[in-house]
Each structure stands twice: as C-alpha cells, then as structure tokens.
C-alpha cells in the first residue's frame, strides 16, 4: 500500500515526534548527570536541561497522538480530513513554536512555571492551533455515519479537555490567583492533573484503536464495557487530581473527595486481575509482532503503575512519598512505560500496514533488541527511583545535603540505567524513523507518477 499525499500530514507529525523524543531523552541524560555532578556542563544549567527534556518528551506524546489521528481518520476510517490545509498549518506552527521555546530555554528566558517554563506569550500559537485542530477533528468525525466508537469519544474528550486545562494552567496570570499561594498552587495542580488526563485520552484512544484494528473486532470499541471504563476515566480526569495536593492546605473535603475518587481505580485493578489469566493467548501476534510487543509492554507497565498509583494515593503513604523520587518513578513509568510504548505500537502498526513484510523486516533484529534494552533499563530506572524516593521520604534528619549523600548510590543507578534506556529507545526510533521515511518516499513518488505519465 502506498500512502496518498494528504496522508503525509499524520506521518510528518509522527516523524517529528520521534525526533523530539530522541532529543528529549538526550537532555534527560544530561540532566541526570547534573544531578550527580552539579558542575557538569555549567553553561547549560539544570534549570535549562530539565525544561528542555520535559517539553520535548511531552511534545513527542502530543505529536505522536495527533499524528496518529491525522493519519488514521483519512487513511483507514475513510473520513477525509475536513481541512488538510489547517492540519499542515498546525504542523508548521508546532515546529516554529517548538523552536522558539527551545531558543527561550537555551538563552535562559523563562516563564518559570513548572512544565510550562517558556514565556507565556509562546502559548498563544499553541492555543490557536489547538482550536484549529479541534475544529478539524470534530468536522471530520461528524461525517461518520455509524455510532461513534469509544476512541472517537476519547480523542474528542482529549481535544476539549486539553484546551480547557491548558487555559486553566494560565490562570496564574490573573492576580486573584497569583497572589493567593494556596489557590495558585491548587489551581496549577488541578490543571496539570486534568491536562495529563487529557493527553492520556488521546493516547489511550490510540491504543484502543490499534488493538481493535489488530484483533479485527471493531464492535468491541462500541461495547458497554468500553464506554463504562471511558466514563470512569473521565470522572477521574475531572475529580481525581487533588491527590497531588493532599499536603497543601486547601479545604479538607476537597482532599477527602480526591481520596475517594482515586480509590475507584480499584475497580480497574480488579478487572485487570480478573482477566489477567487469559490475556496473552490470542491476537494476530505474528502479523503485527512489533505493534503487539509494545502494547504488551504497555500492559505490564499499566499494572505496575496502577499498583503504585493506588498506594501513593492513600494519604498515609502519600505522607512519605510526596515530594520524593517515588513521584518521578510514577511519572516516568507512565510516560515511558505506558504512553511511549502505546505510541510506538501505533507507529509500528502503521509501518506494518503500509510496508510489506519484506521491506519492513520481521519480528527480530534491532527493534526487538531496542525493545528489550529499553524495557529492562526502564525497570532498573524505576526501581532506583523508588529506592531513592523512599530514602528521601524516610530520612528524618535536617540536612538536605546529608540526605542527598545517602541516596546517591540509587541516583547513580538511575542515571546509568537512563543512559541504556536512551540507547534502547534510540535504536527503536532509528528503525521506525527510517521505515516511516520509506512510506513517505513511496507516497511522494506515487504522487509524481501520474503527472509524468
């Protein structure tokens, strides 16, 4: 199969996303070394490397999820994009805004808000292109004649709630919020919690899409069970954020409510355990071996992260783990173990669909090596962070430096496993990028031929 020219929009987003992930991981490794050796690369302080790392990795998640949507709708769902021009503008504005953000970090011009450290003005193009993306998405999927499968709902929910929570993240610009420390910090984390839920809607919608395509069971995405879990997820997105702020002095009932909402995830855990025994027996594993492999890894990481999430959502445990590397373990486990594995599955699903097996290779080789190196490294990385986090949380002395010295061995393991994690992911990315380049080349040559004829 050869992609048509307008399908290239999605592929461009995906390739840019892979580039962003590769660079973002490199800056993560630099930041890791700065954690161990504060004098390392003095010209590029940790205040610069951390935001570059975070922004580029988060960009990967958005670019890959958006790229998948732009690709799947016209190419596989027969829903022609409402406006390919708007999608192209979205892509180029994303590139220029990304470069401007990178420039602002490297030159030390900060907005200074965690996760949105760039100057607030650079959010304006993101804001407008997101509206454009939303209009394009809803005008495209409304042409669907069948009832929407759950992944259309999830993508749409991700689009809407990202817009709302992104705006919410900038309420600090209004003095009413900025000048009240408690309100400011609660609203900030309310928005971040829901914003993460929003991008998860985009990513998990992609996961369900890929899984249903591989299994061939399209009706599963319209089942009651699928929608029940979707609404439970949406309920958690809206109300479950306050476990980030148990220790911030907001009203007690807000925190108690968050505790209750967080525990609804036990339902999900119960279902996982119930189904676990029979989960690995079917599917067209061989046909989509790489896509299957990454979904399988995501499945394992979901289980691990859910158990950790439930534990640290209990306030008595949160008292020890809050403000420690346990939190980092959870966010890394989620963004790499779950989000990145799902999105790589989406990438390899597209590659398998668009290239013949002879061209794209098979189930062994560099992708498999990269897969194992990255997942084993991530497991070591995760455990090292947990150990460092508990070391910090249980430290009862008054000296920060003393505590840092005590957890240093764990941090060394964390950094070294971070290096191998990066190498493993790079190996996967290199192959994916190269193969996707072949799809792009095929599509371009296909476009030229009719004119030449």
């Amino acid at each position: 199969m050869i992609a048509r020219e307008h399908d290239l929009i999605g592929l461009n987003f995906l390739r840019l996303g892979m580039l962003s992930l590769g660079v973002g991981m490199f800056f993560g490794v630099i930041g890791g070394f700065q954690f161990l050796f504060p004098d390392f690369l003095q010209e590029l302080l940790f205040t610069k490397t951390r935001p570059i790392h975070v922004s580029m990795v988060v960009s990967w998640i958005f670019l890959a999820a958006i790229g998948g949507i732009y690709f799947y709708l016209p190419r596989q769902q027969n829903l022609k994009l409402w406006s390919p021009v708007a999608a192209n503008i979205h892509f180029w504005v994303f590139i220029f805004t990304g470069l401007a953000i990178l420039f602002s970090y490297l030159t030390g011009r900060f907005g200074g808000r965690e996760y949105f450290e760039f100057p607030a003005a650079l959010s304006v193009p993101i804001f407008f292109t997101w509206i454009m993306f939303g209009v394009n998405y809803f005008n495209t999927v409304r042409k669907e004649k069948e009832p929407w499968p759950v992944y259309y709902w999830m993508w749409g929910t991700g689009v809407v709630f990202f817009f709302i929570t992104f705006c919410e993240a900038y309420l600090w610009l209004i003095p009413y919020f900025r000048e009240s420390m408690v309100r400011e910090i609660i609203v900030q984390w309310k928005s971040y919690g829901a914003l993460t839920g929003s991008w998860n809607m985009l990513v998990y919608g992609t996961a369900i899409y890929v899984a249903t395509r591989i299994s061939g069971d399209k009706e599963a995405a319209r089942s009651r069970m699928a929608f029940s879990l979707y609404f439970l997820g949406l309920f958690n997105l809206i109300f479950g954020w306050a476990h980030h702020t148990y220790l911030v002095p907001s009203q007690t009932w807000i925190r108690l409510f968050a505790y209750g909402v967080s525990m609804t995830e036990l339902l999900i855990l119960g279902k996982i355990l119930w189904d676990w025994r029979g989960s690995l027996t079917e599917f067209q594993k061989n046909l989509h071996c790489n896509a299957y492999r990454f979904l399988f890894a995501a499945d394992i990481w979901i289980f691990i992260n859910l158990v950790l999430a439930l534990i640290i959502s209990v306030p008595a445990f949160n008292l020890v783990t809050h403000g420690t590397h346990v939190t980092v373990a959870h966010s890394m486990g989620s963004t790499i173990g779950i989000n990145t594995m799902i999105l790589l599955s989406s990438v390899f699903y597209i590659i398998r669909e668009e290239l013949s097996a002879e061209v794209h290779g098979v189930c062994s080789g560099q992708v498999r090596t990269g897969f194992w190196v990255s997942n084993i490294s991530l497991a070591v990385f995760f455990v090292a962070l947990l150990a460092a986090g508990f070391g910090r949380g249980l430290y009862d002395g008054a000296s920060f430096q003393d505590m840092a010295t005590q957890i240093r061995p764990f941090m060394m393991v964390f950094v070294l496993s971070g290096v191998t994690l990066m190498l493993g992911i790079w190996l996967v990315l290199w192959n994916a990028f190269r193969l996707m380049g072949m799809i792009v080349s095929s599509a371009t040559s296909e476009e030229v031929q009719p004119e030449a004829a």
Partner: protein, 168 residues
C-alpha cells in the same frame, strides 16, 4: 503521583478486547443519548467544581496579603526558573530542598546568603541585591501560608492524615 487514573482503564482494555468478555455492542439510539447525557453531566459538574475550587475551596483568609517586595520576588523566582530544582509543598524539582518553610527553619539571612553566593550544588545565578531581597520576601510570604512537611499529624484507621498544624 497518580496523574492518570485513566492509565489503567484504557491502556488495559485496549489489549483485552475480545468478544467473549464484553457485553453486546450498544448501538441503539437510547445508548447514544445516554452516552451524551453522562458526558454532559460530567462536563457541567466540572465547571461547578472548578468554580468552587477557584473561590471557596482554596481561600486562605489567615494569610496576610502579598507585599510589593514579595510580588517582585515571585517574578524573580519565575525568571530564574527556580522551580526546576526546588519545591513548594513538595511540588517542583527535586535537585534542591523544599522551600515552603525555609524562612521559619533557617531565617532570612541564611536564605539570602544562599541565593546571593550559591553553594557547591547550587550555582550563583547572579541575582542583584534587590532581587535577592525580593526573593527572600517572597519566601517569607510562602512561609505564612502553611506548614510542609506536616509536623503534627495523626493517621486515621482508613488511611487519612489529619494535620493539626493545617490552617484549614
């Protein structure tokens, strides 16, 4: 923290969709309307809950208003991206210590000296004396808002933590 209640839900289910363990497809008009109704209810609840959180739920009447120096200090804190390494209430980067109660615990002079000169693990960012003084004022303001980590607390039978030094 648990950023993503949704992880479990859909990452899991994407993988386990098989006809035999799912209910029959729901394609009736009634179900579509129900889906829209549930979504609409949650969406509207989001706005009411947000309005509560923005106003009543996070008021802190006991805290003195922010001074002009503290306001400028907040801007300086953001300008140098201090949150990349430090935290307030345990939220932020972990390279440096939490600063919520640094003024109560160490005093203004100590905090000012650290900011002005840097340490082995914290670079001297080159703040002017005025900027340093403004940041110290800001840290003093933050200090008045609460206590972190909690010093006097009690763990209840269901895992809740009651903080005696919680201003709320």
């Amino acid at each position: 923290m648990n950023l993503d209640p949704f992880h479990a839900t859909f990452g899991y289910d994407c993988y386990h969709f098989r006809p035999h363990d799912l209910a029959a497809p729901s394609r009736s008009r009634g179900t579509i309307i129900n889906n829209r109704l549930i979504f609409g209810t949650l969406f509207v609840s989001f706005f009411f809950y947000s309005a509560y959180v923005y106003t009543v739920g996070t008021e802190a009447a006991h805290v003195p208003p922010m001074s002009d120096e503290a306001r400028r200090g907040q801007q300086v804190f953001q300008k140098y991206n201090c949150i990349a390494c430090h935290q307030f209430y345990g939220l932020g980067g972990y390279m440096g210590p939490d600063l919520t109660n640094v003024i109560s615990n160490r005093g203004e002079a100590y905090a000012g000296a650290f900011i002005a000169a840097g340490t082995a693990s914290m670079p001297n960012l080159g703040l002017s004396p005025d900027e340093t003084s403004d940041v110290v004022s800001y840290l003093g303001f933050v200090d008045t808002t609460g206590t972190y980590p909690p010093k006097n607390y009690e763990v209840t039978w269901f895992g809740w933590v009651t903080q005696e030094d919680d201003p709320q």
